[in-house]
């Protein structure tokens, strides 16, 4: 029974409520970041797809650079380095900004390859029927591409939910951070806290991954 005692101590209502509050912060930060990343990534992905001279290659370099850097470095950079050049943000904004920069680069690639997956004949047909290039993109290519992009975007959201945990390094009060506060009280609390924290992440992400799989099969 000694083994179970710390579990019972950790899983009392106060602690569970504290962990859920943390999870609320995780979900909120992830949700805001994914919406911002979708807008910015959508814009960048479309601009890269359109092959505009100078702009598209320049964006390609920026996107590839960001995608090839560790997210942890981007978070540290946003919170600790940017103030040196006069850009100061509080913790939540810094976390959202860093996650948005990173995920926008990821989503831009998803959106670009989604657009690329639509046959070129569709554009030619659209143009031949008298639509402008922008109209063709908007009414013909986008609606078809968006449907194909939904599963990878849901997967990316799962990654984002997991990546949000990295913001504990700048003390964002998210699920992992609140878990750390609980297990810091006593050495024997480590295992019970990690079990419940991992389960919380797992339940939400597994549900999302099942939705993504369902959508993929359609």
């Amino acid at each position: 029974m000694d083994f179970l005692a710390p579990f019972i101590e950790v899983y009392k209502p106060d602690n569970l409520k504290f962990l859920l509050e943390g999870f609320g912060v995780t979900l909120k930060v992830a949700a805001i970041s994914i919406v911002l990343s979708f807008i910015i990534g959508g814009l960048i992905g479309t601009l890269r797809y359109a092959r505009i001279p100078v702009v598209s290659p320049l964006l390609a370099v920026i996107i590839e650079t960001i995608r090839n850097l560790p997210l942890l470095l981007i978070i540290f950079f946003t919170y600790f380095a940017l103030p040196e050049i006069g850009i100061e943000m509080e913790i939540t904004s810094a976390a959202i900004a860093a996650l948005t920069v990173f995920e926008s680069a990821m989503l831009a690639e998803i959106i670009r390859s989604g657009l690329n997956s639509i046959e070129k004949g569709q554009i030619e047909a659209g143009r031949a029927s008298g639509l402008s290039y922008i109209q063709t993109l908007r009414y013909i290519v986008m609606p078809q591409a968006l449907r194909r992009m939904v599963p990878p975007i849901v997967s990316q959201f799962i990654s984002l939910l997991k990546d949000t945990s990295l913001a504990v390094v700048i003390a964002l009060p998210d699920l992992l951070h609140n878990g750390q506060i609980i297990y810091a009280q006593k050495g024997s609390y480590v295992a019970p806290v990690f079990v419940i924290v991992a389960l919380m992440y797992f339940i939400v992400n597994f549900a999302l991954s099942q939705i993504a799989r369902r959508l993929e099969l359609k």
Binding site: E64, L71, L72, L73, A81, Y183, V190, Y201
Partner: protein, 212 residues
């Protein structure tokens, strides 16, 4: 302008971290490749309990943050930061590699297994000598992607004092009070590893797409 004296004065620390990042990523890649192959075979083998263990491992690990795993191996085990971090990265990456290898095995036509079995090979032999060598080819680009992710994720070692590039960067910025320039140099060291890998993977993917 960037202050290059940050780089030149601390080049030993930068290179030490750079080396550790490469070493831990390579060790974690090798270990997670072995564990991932084992898990993939378990998920496919015609033995139900093995299927369940493989599936539970992959689905559970894939859906929790790698940092949670790294903290756990660091706190629960009696390891230093570097060892705990490498074990944590291995546990996490193995789940993704298992999925890549499983997809590779599934892409080998069923007839190959039947033909191998009918020549008298056991299931294990057929898997090892006939199916896996063919699957590996398809698995190389996703493995490359996992290696890139590993290099990036190895930065989490910094959180458990693992002596990697990110960790050394933090030390340098704490010593010099110049965070911005230090992090830019850290970023460049990461890009030296990840950009060539990305280009290589992109090249392989394109070549495979053409050969299909």
């Amino acid at each position: 302008m960037l202050d290059f004296s940050i780089l030149t004065n601390n080049i030993d620390l930068f290179l030490e971290g750079f080396k550790m990042t490469i070493i831990t990523s390579l060790i974690a890649l090798l270990c997670s490749f072995m564990l991932g192959t084992l898990l993939a075979v378990m998920r496919i083998a015609p033995i139900k309990p093995l299927n369940w263990i493989g599936t539970v491992y992959v689905e559970f690990i894939r859906n929790i943050p790698v940092l949670v795993i790294v903290f756990f191996t660091f706190l629960a085990g009696n390891f230093g930061g570097m060892t705990a971090g490498t074990i944590g990265l291995t546990i996490y990456t193995a789940a993704f590699i298992a999925e890549a290898i499983r997809a590779g095995i599934m892409s080998v036509p069923k007839g190959q297994m039947e033909a191998a079995r009918s020549t008298g090979l056991t299931y294990g032999q057929a898997m090892r000598m006939v199916i896996l060598p063919q699957a590996i080819k398809i698995v190389i680009p996703p493995l490359g992607n996992q290696f890139i992710n590993l290099v990036k994720n190895s930065s989490l070692l910094a959180v458990v004092a693992g002596g990697d590039l990110m960790y050394q960067g933090d030390l340098i910025s704490a010593k010099t009070y110049v965070t911005f320039d230090t992090y830019v140099f850290v970023a460049l060291f990461y890009l030296i590893i990840t950009i060539p890998l990305s280009l290589g993977v992109g090249f392989l993917e394109k070549r495979m797409a053409r050969s299909n």
